[in-house]
Amino acid sequence: MLNKIEENLIKRGFTPNVRNAIKNSKICIIDDGIQDLKSLIKGLKAEGFSNLVEKKKVNSVNELLQEDYDLIILDITGVAKEISAEDGIGVLSELKRHNPALQVLVVSGSSFSPELSQKLSQADLIRNKPVLPSDLSADVEELLKFRKDEYWAALSILKELRHLQPDILEKLKFFEKIKLRILQFRITKNLETFDSSIANKFIKIADIVTKLGTIGLRVVKISQGFIHP
């Protein structure tokens, strides 16, 4: 069912508003050799990305979190030796611990040890160097669509709920479970008809899932991007 919805979303593509929102996203690029990547940055700008922040190293994880980036493109070596024994991997772990919904794209070498691979799997996407602006641009779109397109966000939340099912059954009250089921059903229907009221429904889902604690944080964080003051 979800696969079919995904296929429909791919066929539909992005609306101009979503595309603009993706291109205007606040993206931080961290690489110890950032001075060598001027052409890559230029290439990304040529692809339409207008809000790029370049950093040679990470001074503090809190600083990154406070900046409220939509996406962080992170190299894993030589970027955070002063603040973490695990360098970029340590930064990745901390970012994901504090904000699981923050999208992190790791750009690094081609092979890792088993321990490193396990830790790296916290990243949302990994791209091996060398990478071209066009490939990086495709990756950025792939990641940010969940934050900028309400339908992709809804699909992502439905997938996440599937993973959370055992906790939902165990920890939520009967009434909350029924409410959640109804909302899931409605979201699925909205995804079939591209109903724009979909965001309200997954925001309600996030309210319920908050009760699960940190394991539901991903759903909460995804929905937060669609709460309009």
Binding site: G33, D75, R127, P130
Partner: protein
């Protein structure tokens, strides 16, 4: 982390420990290790007795420095049958040997030719402890095997850690150059000369990038691929792009690509750059080991696809040097060069297929080779060689 010198000292201590229990010895003609070992006496008692005899010592050095690579058995200048393993390490050649049994006749003959003084000393020692004939009975090669593996791993491992870091660091400037060239390409006008120069630059940096990645993969005994690295990879387009890189080589050898697009439109989920490296190795080998064609009859490299339900099978077929049946597994070993490959005339490191297998197995696939003997040309056995790569359509639990 300890440095290479520290590693050697550690290794010497390890060798000292071993020599208490076995009649073993260590030799290397191009490392500084033998100085440590030889002088500090890590060798069988029978060899120690002849330390002062220059003539025998020279014979022994010559004997050990001429041993073949690999695990073998031979008789040493003293008449003792030795089982040895001679390996190539990152810093040179190294031999570990164990005495297995002695040949009384040869030993007697050697001893009888010794100068009177040495013979007398030797006989005295022999009389006291009969040391020379106290040979360890070894039936198991694993001791030799394990010890050599330790040497290889420790010495190469120390280097590999630094090399891995350097290779990793190299990738950032490589990425910078690749992007600079791309930008430059969009800025130059239609000047053919400039575009040709940029094309050459592009090819060269691409080759440097691939070689760096090959080193990086080589230094990892096992590639650990995460689903986050997987993307859709269109194999047909990948092979087409790789082939274009080798235009000058293929035109020179009159080789053409017969690219059957029966299932090539399909994509698989894989790590794109690794799949690029895999097919680059296979196509480069196919070109390198194919025989030159003729203007009216060019040599064909046939690439075909087969849908195997959950797997896509890509077969690369060439007419080249015959691969014998017993080599079907060995060609994927590191450093192995085919016996019919005429390696003197073809540059190579013997690492390509090892890397290829590493990539394929990391993706949950399989790589196989078969070779059908067809005819003889200039005494070189020819064969139709088929490399079949089976790669899963879906990468583990990944859904893109």
């Amino acid at each position: 982390m300890i440095d290479l010198k520290g590693t050697k000292i550690l290794f010497t201590a390890y060798a000292h420990y071993y020599s208490q229990f076995y009649n073993c010895g260590f030799y290397s003609d191009d490392l500084d290790i033998p100085n440590y070992l030889w002088i500090s006496g890590i060798k069988p008692e029978s060899c120690k007795l002849l330390d002062d005899n220059m003539k025998i010592n020279q014979q022994c050095h010559k004997f050990y420095s001429n041993l073949d690579i690999g695990i073998k058995e031979t008789i040493c200048p003293l008449g003792v049958t030795i089982r040895y393993n001679r390996v190539k390490t990152a810093s040179g050649t190294f031999t570990m040997m164990m005495q297995k049994e002695y040949n009384q006749e040869i030993t007697k003959n050697v001893v009888s030719k010794l100068p009177r003084k040495t013979k007398k000393a030797l006989k005295k020692k022999l009389h006291n402890g009969d040391i020379i004939f106290n040979i360890t009975n070894i039936n198991d090669d694993t001791i030799i095997d394990n010890f050599s593996n330790v040497v290889e791993t420790v010495l190469a491992g120390r280097l590999s850690e630094s090399m891995r870091a350097i290779t990793h660091e190299m990738l950032t400037p490589i990425q910078g150059v690749i992007n600079d060239i791309k930008l430059l390409k969009s800025q130059v006008d239609e000047n053919k000369e400039s575009l040709d120069t940029i094309k050459i630059l592009e090819q060269n940096i691409g080759q440097i990038s691939r070689l760096s990645k090959n080193i990086s993969i080589l230094l990892n005994p096992q590639l650990n691929i995460t689903v986050q690295s997987a993307r859709k990879v269109y194999i047909h387009s990948e092979i087409k792009n790789i082939w274009e890189r080798y235009t000058s080589a293929t035109e020179g050898k009159k080789i053409i690509l017969d690219h059957k697009k029966n299932k090539g439109g399909l994509y698989i989920e894989a790590v794109p750059d690794q799949i690029g490296i895999l097919f680059n190795i296979l196509l480069e080998n196919a070109i390198k080991y194919s025989f030159e064609g003729f203007d009216n009859k060019p040599t064909k490299i046939i690439v075909s696809y087969k849908d195997l339900k959950n797997f896509l099978e890509v077969t690369i077929e060439t007419l080249g040097c015959l691969i014998e049946v017993f080599e079907y597994e060995r060609v994927f070993e590191l450093g192995y060069r085919g016996i019919n490959s005429n390696e003197r005339f073809r540059n190579g490191t013997g690492s390509g297929l090892y890397i290829a297998k590493n990539i394929v197995t990391s993706h949950g696939g399989e790589i196989l080779v078969s070779s059908q003997k067809i005819e003889m040309e200039n005494n070189a056995p020819l064969g139709i060689n088929k490399f079949s790569v089976k790669l899963p359509y879906r990468f583990k639990n990944c859904s893109i």
